[in-house]
Amino acid sequence: MTGDLFQLSGLSLTYPNGTCALDGVDLSVAEGEFVSLLGPSGCGKSTILRLVAGLMEPTGGRLNWLLPVARGDIGFVFQEPTLMPWARIIDNVRLPLDLAGVPKGEGNDRAADGLVRVGLGDFQKAFPAEMSGGMKMRASLARALVTNPRLLLLDEPFAALDEITRLKLNDDLLSLWYAQRFTALFVTHSVFESVYLSGRIAIIGPRPGRVVAEVPVPLTFPRDLSVRTGTDYGAICRDVSDRLHAAMGLAA
């Protein structure tokens, strides 16, 4: 195991109106790790991602980077595909490179390559409105990976997709992660999804949010569909589900 990429210690966020969204979040994430933040809606999981991304400032606690992180080292996948409707897919995927001043020719090559890797090689010239929800999400994934980020933040990226598409995208995300070995921090409210994807799950309790349990997932990578039907998978899911319910103060 390599060293930690970043550590959150006592990370808190209180809004100016007094609402406390996060209260003392402690979490360390190692480089190359796939960690899920699992919790009920409104527990502040997404807020943790936004703080890590630097889109918000915490009102308490610290976020320590143990490895240098520059512009383009963090990729973000939102719950919505968040593509520019006026731009072709290739231009959408190239955006992070454009903003960093990468020459257009080189940017196009890298964006095209990224599209091939998410299975959208034939859709460079398409507009977002011409594509399905799953395809748009793939494009969004390609855009987040086009800078070869050290860290990929995913905020319930597949929650709005149908079951079949979601399972397929889970597998594709895992293959990309296995091949490129970026660090992934994945927010979800699905126990099954978090167990299938992650090496470790951090369960977030309801408002004010904090990490109430950390569960390692003892399944080996690479994983494929056979994992989902295995007995281990079911047992781990039950365990995680119990802990999640305990965190929410409900009977299991």
């Binding site: 936004r50 991304a53 630097g54 889109l55 512009r71 383009g72 963090i74 973000f76 939102f78 919505e80 968040t82 520019m84 409707p85 006026w86 731009a87 955006l95 992070p96 454009d98 903003l99 960093a100 507009f127 409105a129 011409e130 800078t147």
Partner: protein, 259 residues
């Protein structure tokens, strides 16, 4: 008759029936031409006075187009400035509203005096611009604020500069709003040009509105109606052109729809 054909055929059919009814009514009741000229007389006037009327149309069209382009550029530019500085917006926006709500007819004599009677076309341009300017400003302001918050976060994450935010995110996001404002503004520019000429035109202005006044004073109703017909045609052309541009530019946003 199915829906599409009904929509294509009914309007011209109604128009033809209306003109026929008009023509017969005028001759049946012997209505004098200075009250209501028959359509044939209007067509005659259109044909006979064509050089004069077309020249006037050209003058009105030039003022309208200039006022529209000025309104479009200044409206978008001011909205962009407002977006950069809230202080500036807070300070100036109320005055833009005041300019908008004050009836143009009431301001017109002042503008004519300030600009000078000898430069009446400039006065017309200023007045038409005042009328056409506000929809572009208010729509552009709304459009620049209507950026997808996630996309804005994405741009921030990648360290986009103010300039990149403006050109790559805010202006494209605002485009549907700006185009909707432009469509309103195009029609208002024509109205502004006509109203301005009514108030300010004193013989030096020779646009279509002046032809209407002049023909009215001389009880030359066929020519008055001919000028009105040309004004309508100008208005329809402007609207059609702007609708076409809107469809062209927004096609990629919503394939199969016009937005």
């Amino acid at each position: 008759m199915n829906g599409v054909w009904a929509r294509r055929l009914l309007p011209p059919l109604v128009g033809v029936l209306f003109l026929l009814g008009w023509e017969t009514a005028v001759s049946a009741w012997d209505i004098p031409p200075f009250v209501l000229p028959p359509p044939t007389a209007v067509a005659h006037a259109l044909w006979n006075d064509a050089p004069l009327l077309l020249q006037s149309s050209w003058i009105t069209l030039i003022i309208t187009v200039q006022a529209f382009l000025l309104a479009l550029t200044s409206g978008v530019a001011l909205a962009v400035l407002f977006k950069q500085s809230r202080t500036l917006e807070a300070a100036l926006y109320p005055y833009a509203v005041i300019l908008q709500v004050t009836p143009i007819v009431a301001i017109a004599p002042l503008v004519v005096i300030w600009v000078g009677y000898e430069r009446v076309n400039l006065a017309l341009l200023v007045l038409a611009w005042i009328v056409a300017f506000f929809p572009v400003l208010s729509n552009s302001t709304a459009g620049l604020a209507a950026v997808d918050p996630n996309l804005r976060d994405l741009f921030r994450l990648y360290g986009a500069s103010r300039w990149q935010m403006l050109w790559r995110l805010q202006l494209p996001s605002a485009l549907p709003y700006i185009l909707a404002g432009a469509k309103i503004s195009g029609g208002l520019a024509l109205i502004g040009a006509v109203v301005a000429e009514f108030v300010a035109g004193s013989g030096t202005a020779t646009g279509l509105a002046w032809r209407v006044i002049e023909a009215g004073n001389r009880l030359n109703m066929p020519r008055l109606f001919a000028a009105l017909v040309l004004l309508s045609i100008l208005g329809i052309l402007i609207f059609a052109l702007l609708s076409w541009v809107q469809r062209l530019l927004l096609r990629r946003w919503h394939p199969g729809g016009t937005g």
